[in-house]
């Protein structure tokens, strides 16, 4: 394998897909974040922690513009990071993935990873806008969320390995096994300890946009890595002539 080419196309695919994610979120998620942070501001005014002044709003607007730039920047960092994991798994599993070309294979793997390390954990611990979530519980919530992702990811891997021991329709048993196992984990894991006090239409709208943004990332990641893999073929050695 051409190691450097492999690493470069994996990181490039992740960064580009992350750019798609961050940019999409400017339109999908930011309007909801602005409303949620507006509620936080009103709480600050009513509690006397801040004064509703022109200076406050000027500073606030400047700060939010900086954070929206950070949305795209963080998208690239997170995209590169998740893309690195995706690249490792794609390289190791490419021959086992269904599909007659690398774009299809990458999209199928992206779909599997979207389901197992994003959507299934999301169903237990859904994304929340600002105003939902206590600072005191952030460490606990982080541990719970990361644990659920890890359990779901490793369970998917284990049941995939198990499926290779079966033939034809019996392979579906592994899928059922994963579903049953994750259902048990879903029930066993503690709930998010924070109470939701924000309006539910805001929370639900934010969650839908969050799913759309992350889904755009995984779709872009599969397509871009598949295209780059086809173009640069990092799994092939440079031809040697004797």
């Amino acid at each position: 394998m051409k190691t450097i080419i492999f690493i470069i196309i994996v990181l490039a695919a992740g960064a580009l897909a992350g750019l798609v994610h961050g940019t999409a979120n400017l339109f999908l998620v930011e309007p909801y974040l602005d409303v949620a942070i507006g509620i936080e501001n009103q709480n600050l005014f009513s509690s006397g922690q801040e004064d509703d002044t022109l200076e406050f709003w000027v500073e606030y607007e400047r700060y939010r513009e900086w954070q929206k730039g950070g949305q795209v920047f963080a998208g690239v960092i997170l995209g590169t990071s998740i893309g690195a994991l995706f690249g490792i798994i794609f390289a190791l599993s490419r021959n086992s993935l269904p599909g007659n070309n690398n774009i299809k294979k990458a999209l199928i793997l992206a779909g599997i990873m979207w389901l197992t390390i994003y959507l299934v954990p999301f169903l237990k611990y859904p994304a929340n806008p600002p105003t939902v979530g206590e600072a005191d519980t952030v460490v606990l919530r982080s541990i719970l969320y990361l644990s659920f992702i890890a359990i779901s990811g490793f369970a998917a891997l284990a049941f995939f390995k198990l499926s290779k021991k079966f033939k034809n329709q019996k392979k579906l048993l592994a899928l059922f096994g994963y579903a049953i196992f994750m259902a048990m984990v879903f029930v066993a894991m503690p709930e998010n300890p924070d109470e939701i006090t924000a309006p539910m239409d805001l929370v639900n709208g934010f969650r839908i946009m969050s799913i759309l943004g992350v889904s755009a990332y995984w779709t872009a990641l599969g397509i871009i890595l598949g295209i780059l893999w086809n173009r640069f073929k990092p799994n092939k050695e440079v031809p040697s002539f004797n």
């Binding site: 190691t3 979120n25 990071s81 490792i88 806008p129 952030v138 969050s210 002539f241």
Partner: protein, 71 residues
């Protein structure tokens, strides 16, 4: 008469060095965007970094949007 033969070597093995490099990038990137509460900048700026939360604030919107727990 000399002959030229082309041999295409197909080697599917993924080098350990590539896996290690990508795994490190994965871990660092995930921590920066998803979980840092001042830890990284505290290496240079000490306790003040936990007050400023610079990376947390910069990645704040993506942290919420990607589903990571936040304040």
């Amino acid at each position: 008469m000399s002959q030229s033969r082309q041999i295409n070597l197909s080697k599917e093995g993924v080098p350990i060095i590539a896996i290690a490099a990508l795994a490190i990038i994965f871990g660092i990137g995930l921590f920066v965007v998803g979980f840092d509460q001042g830890h990284i900048f505290s290496i240079a700026f000490g306790e003040q970094a936990f007050e400023d939360l610079y990376i947390h604030e910069l990645t704040h919107d993506m942290r919420h949007a990607a589903g990571f727990p936040c304040h």
